[in-house]
């Protein structure tokens, strides 16, 4: 009797889900927790600053060169967040509420700016507004000197345009869940449109607004490419980490680790704040009758249209510029108004190397995310308990770890034998995998919550074990969610720069790094041709997602 119970226990532990759970835990421990742990302990134990435990931190907060970067990071991120709200909320309101022309085209344009790699946008602005920039010179001939794109204002400007879509998309979907009766009631009580918005609509949008704001903040705070390209003497924290990491290469990146820990503290704090706010302000509302479209007075309508079209034009300008300059002859950083295909020569030359790497790494990482992410989602949604909650937290945490921090952590952890993985394709694939895992997990978790458990239990009841039930019932029923999660993963992985910069070796370099190098070397024409290729590769799966799978733009955030 007792032995049969023990046998059954043992068999229970060796069955499908416990093994998968163990695998998932191993993944998050070795790819996330150990690397983070290592940089944390390096930051305390390293000898660079001196002997004391907090020596590195003491140095950070006493040397202006270092602590300025933290202040700078906060300045640009907070400014960009505020501006993104100021632009994003009215834009979402107008596009959702007013019957202005080409609304769906506007949404597509917002998505396009959203998914385009940030650093491409930055150098595109350099082409336009840099010292020898096209627009700078054009306006100079008229005696107008445009503000510089370099330094803090330029970074804030680019971040705002790059990240306002977070706010736009979240607020748009928030507006969808507000019932028309709410507005009617307010109007009926005599409040005007503006007053109704601020007293009734905005409070209901608070969850979307706070989430949007924190996502902008985190994205701006951890971006590496843009401040490298535009920052010059204005250094932010991620740039400093990268610089220290490159300097330290070969030795233990003690200082880079210390800075990385500070970065991680800020992003984790922001994410916890976001979760807390989301829970606090979650009014579970489902609109029975969504807000109706309005036809405002002509003056208002023209003003609203001008604002939207102006914004979209500004946001798309860098991309249009990339496409044009991809076909222009260049003389170093100066583009000449002469048509050519020469810039694409480089694309062909990279086809066997970085382009292939990008496609192969992205594809493998996406597949891994889809497989592992779906299984983790199943554990989170269907097998609640302590371990499942732990896994949920680990996945959330991987969202909080910035690319550059993960990169440094992985290098510190896997630089030496027996697990000397740095410089191999594997380390890049694993980095992409762990960073983008949340996309697949979230997509499948929400689909699983819609799906009744009975169907799976029916399969178990008919004799299919847990593994077979998952394969034959759950996976087919989740296929749309898995596919859309995978497409999002693909789009977000293919443009990855910050972890890649730290983890790549010459052999494993990718398109994003190549573009970055071309920009650094001032070969704008080639950079544009490569950039255009990358944008097309990023956008393709999203076209599939929206046109064939009926997903709305809001699925992106």
């Amino acid at each position: 009797m007792t032995t049969s119970v023990t046998n059954n226990r043992l068999r229970g532990l060796l069955s499908f889900w416990p093994i998968v759970t163990l695998l998932a835990l191993v993944c998050s421990v070795f790819l996330l927790l150990v690397p983070v742990w290592n940089i944390v302990s390096l930051s305390f134990a390293g000898k660079e600053g001196g002997a004391g435990v907090f020596e590195n931190y003491v140095m950070f907060f006493s040397e202006p060169y270092y602590y300025r970067s933290l202040i700078n990071s906060f300045i640009v991120s907070i400014s960009a967040t505020v501006l993104a709200l100021v632009i994003g909320i009215p834009a979402a309101y107008i596009v959702s509420r007013y019957n202005i022309w080409a609304r769906s085209l506007i949404k597509t344009a917002v998505v396009l700016t959203f998914v385009s790699p940030p650093f491409i946008g930055s150098y595109s602005w350099v082409i336009l507004l840099g010292r020898k920039g096209v627009l700078t010179q054009f306006f100079a001939e008229w005696g107008i000197s445009l503000p510089s794109i370099y330094g803090a204002p330029g970074i804030i400007f680019v971040f705002t345009l790059q990240y306002f879509p977070f706010v736009f998309l979240l607020v748009s979907s928030g507006l969808k869940s507000i019932d028309q009766s709410v507005e009617d009631a307010a109007r009926n009580l005599g409040s005007g449109e503006a007053r109704t918005f601020f007293t009734v609509i905005a409070p209901l949008l608070l969850p979307s607004i706070t989430t949007g704001a924190l996502l902008v903040f985190i994205a701006a705070f951890t971006d590496l490419g843009t401040p490298i390209i535009l920052g010059e003497k204005f250094r932010v924290l991620p740039v400093l980490i990268y610089g220290e990491f490159v300097n330290d290469f070969g030795g233990a990146p003690v200082l880079a680790s210390t800075l990385a820990v500070l970065l991680l503290i800020v992003t984790t704090g922001a994410l916890l704040l976001q979760r807390w706010l989301a829970r606090r302000y979650a009014y579970a509302t489902a609109a029975i009758r969504p807000l109706v479209m309005q036809s405002p007075r002509p003056v208002k309508r023209i003003a609203a249209s001008l604002f939207i079209y102006g914004l979209i034009l500004l946001a798309l300008l860098p991309m249009v510029n990339i496409i044009i300059s991809a076909f222009l002859k260049s003389n170093g950083p100066v583009l000449v108004a002469e048509f050519t295909f020469d810039n694409f020569d480089k694309v062909w030359r990279l086809a066997g190397g970085p382009l292939k790497n990008t496609l192969v790494f992205t594809t493998i990482a996406t597949l891994m995310c889809a497989v592992m992410g779906t299984m983790i989602a199943y554990i989170i949604a269907r097998r609640p308990g302590k371990i499942s909650a732990l896994l949920d937290t680990a996945v959330m945490f991987s969202y909080a770890v910035p690319g550059i921090v993960l990169g440094v952590g992985l290098v510190v952890t896997y630089h030496n034998p027996p697990l000397a993985l740095t410089g191999t394709p594997l380390i890049l694939i694993l980095a992409y995998f762990i960073r983008r895992l949340p996309f697949s997990v979230r997509s499948s978790v929400s689909a699983l919550q819609q799906l009744s458990k009975d169907t799976e239990e029916a399969s178990i009841n008919l004799g299919a074990g847990p593994g077979m039930t998952f394969l034959k019932i759950t996976v087919p029923l989740l296929s749309m969610a898995i596919l859309s999660g995978a497409l999002l993963t693909w789009s977000n992985t293919i443009r990855e720069l910050s972890a890649t910069l730290v983890l790549q070796s010459g052999r494993t370099t990718t398109m994003s790094v190549e573009i970055f190098n071309e920009v650094a070397n001032g070969n704008f024409g080639t950079a544009s041709a490569l950039g255009m290729t990358l944008i097309v590769l990023t956008f393709l799966p999203l076209v599939l997602l929206f046109t064939f799978m009926g997903k709305s733009e809001e699925a992106l955030v």
Partner: protein, 362 residues
């Protein structure tokens, strides 16, 4: 081969609340056994423990005397029919039915033959290649029944399989389920909150209330000889009159005093222990009462309301007991229908009044 099921002192606790409380049931081979009770009484919880989806907090479950407590759900060989169908939406009707057979790695030819047979049985052979979304609710539920029977289950489990269907479909499928169950001779545990369904379809019924089994008996016995006050009030129309036990005779008959002061003789229901001088409840079904002219014995009541329901007529009499007492008269030609305001004698059929210890909850 179908198996007997023993549920032995099963208790299931969720955190601190008890969903199933020390339940013991013996179900014979081939028996159609029904768990009947109102919402939240623990029927589903008990059924899911038999299926292996829930682990009991204590007690044992046996199939054919063999303890199966630690056998995982997919190895128990029970066929389950769910309230909301749980049909596999991505598989055709035939593939749904074949699923359990494929899992058992049967030969393709055998599977095809078996699937065809099952679909003929539930009269869906013409829809074999449809997808579930192209079927009506009743058709979907028949697919699920065929799917559950195809694996030749040791025990068939059904959790309110008819409750999502409209009335006509429900009545139709009800008799179909019973016929198929008899044809297969498969041991069946059926869950419902519909007492008419339970009484009609089952060999035996367990009436449950708040996690406890109140009575296990054949449908006729449940109705005619309820053993607890709960069953007496839950099953069928009944008059439950608060009384006080004045005297207890050696042969088990008691003299009960009504609130009006009238007295009546009655026996305690099977298993009920009465005590002299305590409050009790008198149970008397509406159809077990005859009417006679006032003052000719029995209990005196004043007619307050009449409801004509065609075949039966319900007459409500005020006996000074708080709630009016219902008498059901046959709507036969020539029936003497009393007039409202009239006083009549209500004369119970001999042996029809029974007593239960305790009071009915308001």
């Amino acid at each position: 081969m179908t198996k007997s099921v023993s549920i032995e002192q099963i208790t299931k606790k969720f955190d601190s609340s008890v969903a199933v409380n020390n339940v013991s049931i013996e179900i014979g081979q081939g028996e159609f056994f029904t768990l009947l009770g109102s919402s939240g009484c623990g029927k589903t919880t008990l059924l899911r423990m038999v299926a292996g989806f829930l682990q009991q907090s204590s007690g044992h479950i046996r199939f054919d005397r063999k303890i199966i407590d630690t056998v995982p759900a997919h190895e128990r060989n029970t066929g389950m029919v769910f309230q909301n169908y749980a049909i596999f939406p991505h598989l055709t009707v035939a593939e749904n039915v074949a699923y359990g057979l494929k899992v058992r790695k049967q030969a393709k030819g055998d599977i095809d033959r078996e699937v065809r047979k099952m679909l003929e049985l539930v009269r869906l052979d013409h829809l074999a290649h449809r997808l579930p979304r192209e079927l009506s609710g009743g058709q979907q539920q028949r697919v699920v029944l065929a799917r559950a029977l195809a694996i030749r289950p040791d025990v068939l489990l059904m959790d309110e399989p008819l409750s999502n269907l409209d009335t006509e479909m429900r009545l139709h499928l009800r008799s179909e389920i019973r016929a198929i169950q008899q044809q297969f001779g498969v041991t069946t545990i059926y869950v419902t909150h519909d007492q008419e369904e339970a009484l009609l379809i089952s060999d035996r019924v367990a009436v449950m209330s708040m996690g406890n089994v109140e009575q296990i008996a054949r449908p006729g016995d449940i109705y005619l000889n309820p053993q607890t006050l709960f069953v007496a009030s839950f099953i069928g129309d009944n008059n439950l009159i608060p009384v006080e036990i004045e005297a207890l005779a050696a042969d088990g008959t008691a003299s009960a005093r009504l609130p009006s002061g009238e007295r009546t003789e009655a026996r305690a229901a099977t298993g009920q222990q009465l005590t002299q001088g305590t409050k009790a409840t008198l149970s008397l079904r509406p159809q077990d009462i005859d009417l006679a002219p006032a003052g000719t014995g029995g209990l005196q009541g004043k007619l307050t309301e009449l409801q004509f329901l065609g075949g039966t007529i319900k007459a409500f009499f005020d006996l000074g007991t708080g709630k009016p007492v219902t008498v059901s008269l046959q709507g036969r030609h020539g029936t003497q229908i009393p007039v409202i305001g009239e006083t009549r004698s209500l004369i119970p059929l001999p042996g029809a009044t029974t007593l239960y210890a305790g009071e009915v909850k308001a």
